[in-house]
């Protein structure tokens, strides 16, 4: 009997593992498709049947970063031979790279990518710095109506972005802050701050009070013990909170769509705006998407031990 059960279980296990493998492959297929399209020759991006095996090329990335126009007529062979390899690839595709004097004209993508970096990094820094202090305050000191305050802090995060965006847009217009980095930074800081407080409070609660009490006995002030004892203990938590905040700001779409259109526009509203009707070059879109997703993929692996906590606002700790 026992033998039957255990071999039965082994079979179930094998089936489960096979199922997991199949599901994992299905789940990763869309991501693989983005990554592979970013290295495809243009005509293979929308081929029927879909192309899985192909000679990868980096032309989509060259196109992503440059301004180009359609070629009229053939290229002068001398010009073609003198051109660097990446420019020849553009000629091969029937386009030429725009130049001002000798310097290549860049597309808007690098600028949008930089905007994303500036806004995400600054807002993450502000939210985590303030959030850490506030979380410590809530964790260590009793306060009347603490639960209500914490709920208030959380609820500001729960509102649909468009609800918050309507009044913010009106105010930003008054102060000339639409389409500025500062405008987005403030919005993202406010959104991430509530998250940072909740997540950091969980981490702070886990640091034993005894450490600080010992420091106080040794003659530290409360403030010194915070900086010298608590902060070093909270490093992992702070790092995890920072990465989550960064990812939120990096991915955010609705606010960026409403508040920016050019100068301060970030990548999420920019990339979809590149898809026009008719002849969309999906390899370029894929290249832009690929570069945009790489940091998030790396961070996900770095965060894997904290994902559960992060996605539940610190509610579930393991």
């Amino acid at each position: 009997m026992a033998v039957v059960t255990s071999s039965g279980r082994r079979v179930t296990n094998r089936i489960a593992i096979a199922a997991i493998l199949v599901i994992t492959i299905i789940f990763l297929a869309p991501i693989y498709w983005i990554a592979s399209t970013a290295f495809k020759p243009r005509q293979l991006a929308t081929s029927v049947p879909p192309t899985v095996l192909f000679q990868p090329e980096v032309t989509p990335f060259v196109k992503l970063f440059t301004k180009r126009v359609q070629l009229r007529g053939p290229v002068d062979p001398e010009v073609y031979d003198a051109a660097p390899w990446w420019e020849q690839a553009i000629y091969d595709g029937g386009e030429r790279v725009l130049r001002v004097g000798d310097s290549v004209q860049l597309s808007a993508y690098p600028n949008r990518f930089m905007n994303s970096l500036i806004v995400a990094i600054t807002s993450t820094f502000l939210a985590v710095a303030m959030g850490t202090l506030t979380a410590y305050g809530f964790s260590r000191f009793k306060m009347k109506g603490e639960d209500d305050l914490l709920f208030f802090i959380l609820s500001t995060r729960m509102l649909p972005p468009v609800v918050v965006a309507i009044p913010m847009f009106l105010m930003y217009r008054v102060f000339g802050m639409t389409d500025t980095h500062l405008g987005l930074i403030i919005l993202y800081t406010a959104f991430n701050l509530s998250f940072a407080v909740w997540l950091m409070k969980g981490f702070m609660d886990e640091i034993p009070k005894e450490y600080e009490e010992a420091a106080l006995v040794d003659g530290y002030t409360r403030l010194q013990s915070f900086f010298k004892i608590v902060l070093p203990e909270a490093t992992t938590g702070i790092a995890a909170t920072a990465v989550f905040s960064f990812i939120f700001a990096w991915n955010e779409y609705a606010f960026a769509l409403i508040m920016t259109n050019r100068r301060a526009q970030t990548a999420p509203p920019f990339i979809p705006a590149q898809v026009g009707s008719g002849l969309t070059d999906w390899t370029v879109i894929a290249a832009g998407t690929f570069l945009f997703l790489v940091p998030v993929a790396i961070f996900t692996f770095a965060l894997r031990g904290h994902l559960l906590r992060g996605v539940t606002f610190g509610a579930i700790r393991k």
Partner: protein, 299 residues
Amino acid sequence: MAGLARLEGDTRAAARGWSDLTIRNVFILPTIAFLIIFNIFPLIYSLGYSFTDFRASVNDPVNFVGLQNYRELLNDPNIWRNFTVTAQYVIVSVGGQVIVGFGLALLLNRKIPFKGLITTLLLLPMMMSMAVVGLFWKLLYDPSWGIINYGLGLGSFDWLSNPDMALYAVAITDIWMWAPFVMLLSLAGLSAVPSHLYEAAAIDRAGTWYTFTRITLPLVAPILIIAIIFRTMEAFKSFDLPFIMSGQPTTEMISIRLYKMAFQEWQTGRSSALAYIVLIVVLAITNIYVKYLNKVKER
């Protein structure tokens, strides 16, 4: 500062440097102030506008119209249709996420090689930008060259421009992104079930179904409910995916209607009123969520 409870902790430390009260206030108050200025004040500002016929696109004089905006919105069958679409989307997408996510968790809740790697790979979609990844799903769904139709042998089946199908197509993408969330939480719940309960069930020769419904499910339920409420709140707010993927009226969720009313039709006053209606619904769900969280934490 009357009315604040007495501080816990050390009064000796308070004698040196900042007092505990000062530290608490310096640490907490800036955050509260920041959130009031940038979250609450704008909402009060727009509450005022919700009683007017203000349009931000023109310089017409602003008239006070009382509750007219609210009355008209609540009597507008189109707004109710937007809410119905939203509810439909919430049910399909959260339901799908629970089935796929919990199923995955049950599969993963055993000793398998590379479990950590597989789990992390499965979690990748939920960390990515909905707008950018959603855009790519349009390519996957494309009736002429999309790999979904090719893979399923559906010929030139139209997903996103088909009014009956678009909502489900968007929901499938949402399920793809967020089923891993339910999986992650369910896995935490499953691994917390004490193994001696299963051993006892095995000794009693309890069947798989019996063990599942009497041991696994009740013990995982609290964490699963957290996942469901959380995903319900997020799905209710959905904007990015349906906005990017489909322009169909059958996917016009309340956030999208609100966006169009405010930033395309420039009915600022009326959209502020609608924003308030949405806000009340969201706060109600959030309140349930937090109450439930606190209950779970106490156990």
